[in-house]
């Protein structure tokens, strides 16, 4: 008896394996690899707002090259624009057009048009992206000046797939420039939205033939809509205050000669200190930065001379001040949002005060006075110290 029972058990166990029947199996070449999506806002006659959904598929055959053969002019990507009452439905609707239904596991970039971001609550708009299990939390979010579908169809020569090209440009933030805010992933996006705090999103726009990511879009935490944008200088200033400007060039002007001095950030540290005096909240921002002297047009400049270096540091400091003040003027005074983490500093240093002001923080924030101190240290001047034009 025991043996029969045992063998029945074994058979059951084995059959479980096969009754599963490859239920999730879909071969890699049979699915549409969506690498970028764009969300636009479509004027519609109906009462509801209709988003327009653009999915960018990679065409691996063309991209992988040699297997493709003759058709060398074929595009390595395919854009599909659907307008339905929901993004999810639009995604499913894509299956009526393409043989390969979209798979979002490799989604890299999400582009939202400025128009959509300004008029639709983003938490609602992006609900599909937060919810779908295939979509990673690491998808980079961008806001576009023009229509998202338009941005997604501008191809580069080196990176033939627009979405992948956007992806690699956004990654430059950490290495080469501070003229865009730090990369904002879908995860960060959802986190900030849930906390109702305001934040910056990288902004993409057309630039000659191609695209450029520069400046920032400001999303207000309360309304969860885009309320304005920062230009490159203002963005740079905010990046310095938050300490995110890990690289990038700052060009100061020498007062005496009216010639430029270019400084490259190598290391930048910022600390925001809050001080509460009765009802008044004030801040001191200390920026310490070290870097390189990368270019100067001053005749007879002499980097071996301590005095010259000190002077250069001073000029650069002035430029830093200007950028940060511009950034603060725009965000604090004009847009009245806290995107640089002043509230966070208050929460950490004065939790009791923060509890009181938390509710209407963005109304209180514009009144806060902010002092900025910058300390620039030129560590090195690279391979030329002194100009030899005597």
């Amino acid at each position: 008896m025991r043996r029969i029972k045992k063998s029945i058990m074994t058979c059951c166990c084995i059959s479980i394996l096969f009754m599963g029947g490859c239920w999730d199996r879909i071969d890699i070449e049979d699915m549409g690899l969506a690498c970028g999506v764009g969300v636009d806002y479509q004027e519609s006659s109906a009462k509801r707002l209709t988003p327009e959904f653009t999915i960018q598929f990679v065409v691996p055959k063309v991209l992988a090259g040699e297997n493709g053969g003759g058709g060398s002019q074929a595009e390595p990507f395919q854009n599909l624009t659907m307008d339905e009452s929901s993004l999810f439905e639009a995604g499913r609707e894509a299956s009526t057009v393409t043989s390969r239904s979209p798979n979002y596991a490799h989604l890299k970039v999400l582009v939202i048009s400025k128009e959509a971001a300004q008029s639709i609550n983003l938490l609602q708009l992006l609900n599909f992206f937060f919810r779908d299990h295939e979509i990673r939390r690491t998808v980079h979010v961008l806001i576009s000046e023009e229509k998202a579908s338009e941005i997604l169809s501008i191809k580069g020569t080196k990176d033939p797939v627009p979405a992948l090209k956007l992806l690699s440009i956004t990654e430059n933030m950490e290495k080469k420039t501070a003229k865009m805010p730090p990369i904002l992933s879908l995860g960060d996006f959802s986190e900030k939205m849930s906390a109702s705090s305001s934040f910056l999103v990288q902004k993409v726009q057309k630039f000659k033939e191609g695209v450029q990511i520069i400046g920032a879009a400001v999303i207000k935490g309360n309304t969860q809509k885009m309320i304005g944008e920062l230009n490159e200088d203002e963005t740079f200033g905010i990046n310095c205050i938050t300490g995110e400007a890990k690289a990038g060039a700052v060009t100061g002007v020498d007062k005496e000669t009216d010639k430029i001095i270019s400084y490259e950030i190598d290391r930048l540290k910022s600390s925001i200190k809050s001080k509460v005096n009765g009802e008044d909240i004030s801040y001191t921002v200390n920026i310490n930065t070290e870097g390189r002297l990368s270019e100067d047009w001053i005749p007879k400049s002499d980097a071996f001379n301590e005095k010259f270096i000190r002077n250069a540091e001073k000029q650069v400091e002035r430029e830093f001040m200007r950028l940060m003040e511009a950034g603060l003027a725009k965000t604090q005074k004009e847009l009245k949002v806290d995107v640089a983490g002043f509230g966070e500093s208050l929460r950490i240093n004065q939790p009791k005060v923060w509890k009181k002001v938390k509710k209407n923080w963005e109304e209180r924030f514009p009144e806060a006075s902010i002092d900025i101190n910058v300390k620039v240290k030129i560590r090195q001047f690279q391979t030329q110290g002194r100009k030899m034009n005597k």
Binding site: L17, F18, G20, G21, C22, D24, R25, I26, D27, I28, E29, M31, L33, C35, V58, P60, K61, V62, L63, A64, G65, N67, G68, N103, A105, H106, K108, E134, R136, L164
Partner: protein, 521 residues
């Protein structure tokens, strides 16, 4: 109850069912008549051309005598020089030994045994049966008229191959000697390496008809008695007509015949056997094969090669690491590819996904069919290459690898990525030093691929768990197969995945429970 014990129990039951009839009746002894003795021998040995019976006359004592031997197994030169010449010529010259004409048969026998024959092995024997056995082993029987015993003279000279480099286990560094088919030579190869009186070689004769000599070798004061007893017990139970190779013995005495993993280690290298014996293992030598069995084994010994010890310790350790990696690749390689490509494309980096998808474009089969196709092709190629003579075998390898692979890709049957996966897997499996272990992994790889095709990564995990459960349960002669990891013996970790310097490994492996554990003082 392990499977071996179960099998033995079943066997016992069937034995009790059928009453076994033993053919051996009462022992037959030699008579004092030479003619009748010879007739008896002739009856037993038959009229075969390789049996030589040489009659002669001992002039001094005026008696007839004869030598019986097998041509080819006995050394003709020795028979001629040490036996016939001594008795027929020299005995006559040495007149001092001629006592009187009336010497009795036993006197003659004693004189011949003690004063005439100049061989080392001389034995008296009065049972015909035993005499026949020894003659069939290559000894020479000397029968004298009026003497009712035979003298068995050691003239064994079995045909034997020269000692050559072991083909299946070549090393860059290390002895170039390999075992041969002759058990006498093999014994000497071991003895040569362990000149220790405590080295014991217990002789068994297995095979009702083949009467194959089998030696169980161990070191008396190192090896744990329970292992020796277990080996002996299992060997004694073998009742088969012939033992052509040590593999037969392996299959009879292994613990679990359903396991894909080898529970004994086979080797052609005397140095490996010698160091195994000194670790506290038991070796089984079988006549007629260069493959010696070494036991008990654990999973770690499947991935160790002699060079790990001969090279400096970090070289040994790194090579061992690499081998472990290769084992994992050859077990999981194709199944991981199948699972990732058909179930979890999200786990592959985007650029790789694009190039895999691009290369799979136009391939008509699902990944699992593609993988099985290539894997089976490579198994066939390997099998074909092994059987063919060396130069042709290489050609087959090239034709198979390059031509078929390339052609299959061009024809669009398989994707280039699959060819890479299969090639890497095949090469990884070649890097395992133990052929038996490599086969086990090859078998399991197919199971792994199927479960990957059915359930993706989940299936792989399930299958790996099943293997692990089996391994943990498996024992080799009372030693846990997964030692030193699962019965946690941290001391043995020094020589498991790592191979630490000798100054650190001062003790013999704990898992073998040696009587004397000090290796280095």
């Amino acid at each position: 109850m392990n499977r071996w014990a179960w099998l033995q129990k079943k066997k016992k039951q069937t034995k009790n069912g059928h009453q076994q009839v033993k053919t051996h009746g009462t022992d037959v002894f030699f008579s004092s008549s030479l003619d009748s003795n010879l007739e008896q021998l002739q009856n037993i040995l038959g009229n075969n051309p390789d049996i030589a019976i040489r009659r002669f006359y001992i002039n001094v004592y005026k008696v007839n005598a004869a030598v019986v031997f097998i041509k080819g197994l006995a050394d003709k030169e020795q028979i001629h020089e040490q036996i016939l010449k001594s008795i027929m010529l020299e005995l006559q010259m040495r007149e001092c030994y001629v006592k009187e004409d009336r010497a009795t048969g036993s006197d003659i026998k004693e004189i011949i045994k003690d004063h005439v024959i100049t061989l080392t092995d001389v034995e008296e024997n009065n049972k015909i049966e035993d005499c026949v056995m020894e003659v069939l082993n290559g000894d020479t029987a000397l029968l004298i008229d009026n003497v009712d015993t035979s003298l068995l003279l050691g003239t064994k000279k079995w045909p034997s191959r020269q000692i050559e480099e072991p083909i299946t286990e070549a090393t860059v560094r290390g002895a170039r000697e390999g075992f041969v088919e002759n058990i006498l030579v093999n014994m000497s190869l071991i003895r040569k390496r362990i000149r220790d009186p405590h080295l014991v070689l217990d002789k068994y004769t297995i095979g009702r008809r083949s009467q194959t000599p089998v030696m169980v070798a161990y070191i008396k004061d190192i090896t744990n008695d329970s292992i020796i007893q277990e080996v002996k017990k299992r060997l004694e139970k073998i009742d088969i007509d012939q033992i052509p190779e040590s593999g037969i013995i392996e299959q009879f005495i292994e613990d679990d015949f359903l396991s894909p993993f080898p529970q004994l280690l086979t080797t052609e290298r005397p140095d490996k056997v010698a160091s195994g014996l000194l670790e506290g293992r038991v070796a089984i030598l079988v006549d007629g094969t260069p493959f010696v069995l070494l036991l008990p084994v654990t999973i770690t010994s499947m991935l160790q090669g002699p060079e790990d010890y001969y090279e400096r310790w970090f070289v040994g350790t790194l090579i061992r690491f690499m081998r472990f990696g290769a084992a994992i690749v050859s077990l999981f390689g194709p199944s991981l590819y199948v699972a990732l490509v058909s179930y979890h494309p999200g786990l592959i980096p985007t650029d790789l996904v694009i190039s895999i998808a691009g290369s799979r474009e136009g391939v008509p089969f699902p990944t699992i069919v593609e993988a099985l196709l290539m894997e089976i092709t490579i198994e066939i190629l390997r099998e074909a290459g092994v059987r063919l003579p060396k130069p042709i075998g290489q050609t087959v390898g090239i034709v198979g690898g390059l031509v078929i692979g390339e052609a299959a890709v061009t024809a669009g049957l398989v994707s280039p990525m699959m060819v890479i996966v299969v090639a890497v897997t095949a090469i990884s499996s070649f890097s395992l030093p133990q052929y038996g272990a490599a086969i086990a992994i090859r078998i399991l790889r197919f199971g792994m691929m199927l479960s990957a095709a059915v359930l993706g990564l989940f299936g792989i995990i399930m299958f790996a768990m099943a293997i692990t459960i089996h391994l943990v349960k498996l024992k080799s002669f009372g030693v846990d197969y997964t030692s030193p990891f699962v019965p946690y013996q941290f001391n043995d970790w020094k020589d498991a995945i790592l191979r630490l310097p000798y100054s650190v490994i001062k003790e013999r492996p704990e898992m073998l429970k040696p009587k004397d554990s000090t290796r280095i003082k």
